[in-house]
Symmetry: C2
Subunit: 235 residues, 2 copies
């Protein structure tokens, strides 16, 4: 709108530190079908990713949010692309990545999917059973490898030895920045606060427990600083 355009021009430059930048965010869980009724998923609520999308939009960025199934509303000023499976999410991210300056992988993407998807509902039988699983493609690692100009922020959600896992994951995937959930994924999922251990080329920082909205604003501010001074682009 004209009013919004005027407000944008009149806002102090510092208030819109991501003006002109394109930020792509993934959020929420994925669903990996076993058959028409059953699927494998996880407890991600999508809140951290949605908070990051909202904070990036607030900072003036063009924001595209690739989202697995959640009950959350699309944040103001954000364009959302809805997906179900890890393969859908990979395809949607790759379709949007060319335009992106920043990719934030906040989705809890399934690491594995069932090897076969049955067309009809699988009938139960008396005995035990097993599901054969195959690895899904690693979305953020593919982005970091194929689009090295893109600033990448990933998340680590291991329940044991989180700091070492976060540092290792950042190095292994070639990410610009990583944020480890300090409270553990079973606590972090579904609640509205968290604490983060954030690592980039400049070092590690501890973000004290706060709401996901406040943590998201702080992460977005840190990304904007890094883009401005062009330090910490690669490990």
């Amino acid at each position: 709108t004209i009013v919004a355009a005027l407000a944008e021009r009149m806002a102090p430059a510092g208030a819109r530190p991501l003006a002109g930048q394109h930020v792509l965010v993934s959020a929420g869980p994925t669903r990996e079908a076993l058959d028409p009724v059953r699927y494998l998923t996880n407890h991600s609520s999508g809140r951290m990713g949605y908070a990051l999308a909202a904070a990036a939009a607030h900072a003036g960025a063009h924001v595209c949010l690739v989202s697995g199934p959640t009950t959350l509303a699309v944040p103001a000023g954000v364009r959302r692309v809805d997906v179900q499976s890890a393969a859908d999410m990979h395809a949607a991210v790759m379709a949007e990545i060319e335009a992106a300056d920043v990719f934030i992988g906040a989705a809890a993407v399934a690491d594995y999917r069932p090897a076969d998807i049955a067309t009809d509902k699988i009938k139960k039988s008396d005995g035990d059973a097993e599901i054969r699983l195959v690895r899904t493609r690693d979305i953020i690692a593919d982005v970091a490898r194929d689009y090295p100009r893109v600033f990448t922020l990933g998340f680590a959600a291991e329940t044991t030895d989180m700091e070492a896992a976060a540092r290792d994951k950042r190095a292994r995937k070639g990410l610009t920045m990583i944020a480890g959930n300090v409270v553990g994924p079973n606590d972090a999922f579904g609640r509205d606060d968290n604490a983060l251990f954030v690592v980039d080329a400049a070092g590690a920082q501890y973000y004290e427990r706060d709401t996901k909205a406040a943590l998201a604003e702080r992460l977005i501010a840190q990304i904007a600083e890094r883009l401005a001074d062009k330090t910490g682009q690669r490990a």
Copy 2:
């Protein structure tokens, strides 16, 4: 309240055909944990079970609704017990069954659960993987076997040869009545209408496509008739 009590006494008897009866309904999906973050589930929205609980309450019954995770509100006059896994749901149903005259198994209970639940999030490795599954206990079959005085209504959701599957399931589990989803579970889940193929000792009936609320009222009316004339209690 006094007003409600008066209204109940003044209503024509036919309007509250389940007055004094205790109806126990299960609804929604179950979630079977693999580890603190991942789980196996299904697309059940819980709408049919919630509609049946609402219709039973409207017909004057005392209604307890044992519900897996859904986004639905508790219907007026219904007491809800929230559960997650198939084992939780089995325990909750068995804790309530002594008082029940009718058990409606409308939940989409997982047939299988992972054999092991990891305490920490399972780390991914490079290769493929598999999940060993074991059968869960069959809640409605256990109710029919151990509480033969209870009127049982089950649902069949097979995608192939539904009529034969429904008749077979009713006989095998010893249910009083069974309703087969004519449109198939992948269509029925999440939408607000359905068509049913209903079988009891008196024969089979086809319920034409209608809203789940209308189908639920018709099923509850049929149960009330059967309880009144005490026919069709067992196959």
